[in-house]
């Protein structure tokens, strides 16, 4: 049985690591969590996942990404994985709250 993919991308490795860890703890049994610190590499990975017939449930763009590349990343992600929900992570106080992702799935 294959599980759908949650993808998180951010330019800041520390933020990404925190988000990745939180996502795995909360959703790791039901989703394949993939994190990438490069938008280009993430798009390549999305292509590979599509070739492998994987369902991508969610693509998250982190707060450390500049606005324009972030928007471009999400647009291109949509063209590769049109069924995936797309999420902008906005800066805020405290640690990421993965429970907030749940309503998006």
């Amino acid at each position: 049985m294959t599980i759908p993919v949650l993808m998180a991308v951010d330019d800041d490795p520390e933020s990404l690591g925190t988000l990745d860890d939180a996502l795995r703890r909360r959703y790791g049994q039901d989703y394949l969590v993939i994190s990438d610190a490069s938008a280009g590499a993430a798009l390549g990975r999305l292509q590979e996942l599509r070739s492998a017939g994987r369902e991508v449930a969610l693509v998250m763009a982190g707060a450390a990404m500049a606005a324009t590349p972030r928007a471009e990343f999400l647009a291109r992600a949509r063209s590769i994985a049109p069924a995936a929900k797309r999420v902008l992570v906005v800066p805020g106080a405290g640690r990421p709250r993965p429970a907030c992702v749940f309503p998006c799935l």
């Binding site: 490795p13 690591g17 993939i34 990438d36 990975r45 590979e48 996942l49 492998a52 994987r54």
Partner: protein, 295 residues
Amino acid sequence: MNARYRQGPGGPGRRDRTAAGHAASDHAPVLSGYDAELRRLNEVLRRAAGVQSGDHVVDVGCGTGQTTRQAARTAQAGSALGVDISAPAIERARELARAEGLRNVTFEHANAQVHRFPQERFDLAISRFGTMFFDDPVAAFANISRALRPAGRLVMMVWQAHERNEWDVAIHQSLGAAEGPASGASGGPDPFSLADPPAVTQILRAAGFADVAFTDVREPVFYGPDVAAALDWARGFTCTSEILKKLDPAAAARAVGRLREALAAHLSDDGVWFNSRAWIITARGGHPTAQAAST
């Protein structure tokens, strides 16, 4: 465990009884169980893995740990971790490592598909027929990829297709299951699930690996020093016992007779051997996944 037919306790398990309790230390004069069967293939994997002193190695589906101990000896100041979902196999692996006095080897009873390995810990992931039975291969290899350091290597041995493996063809023809591998027919775990290079390449790329390459390996497998021992070994395969269970006693006896004949036809001066075909699959990790600020 290097199973072919059963995700036994330990994923790649092939037999109802695991190698646990049967496998001897590879320092012992006589190997038994899988270690004996796969000894020629084992040497090919050892060379391909090319463990270096100081390497940290993870051995996926390690069974009773022959390949893990082998890696640990070469790694010296490095380390080797073996994981397998068979608890008895892991217990046996620990006993054998203790008996040998190896201090840089550890074993964990775990499913490599979901186990929380330390991130970017290992230089090398190896497997001897321990990766064919994952429920979700992409998820499993992605998990292994995360455990590798950037540009860490994956070196694994898997079976090529059923029809290229004389041992499987002979067994199934003997048992009257000429339509194909019993595992496929029964819908059970497929020991040949990683036999197709394009499909495997796709899986590994989706999992974050690059530079996927295949090397054709042709080495015989050893079934026993004589026909009786070989028959005992082959009857221990889950596929064999499953087929025999479905037959009435007379038909089962005839099938066993045919199997004995097939084994006898492969008896040489040094025991019963069958040809086999396997792939050594290599890939490079280090897809810039989660630079994962270890949190």
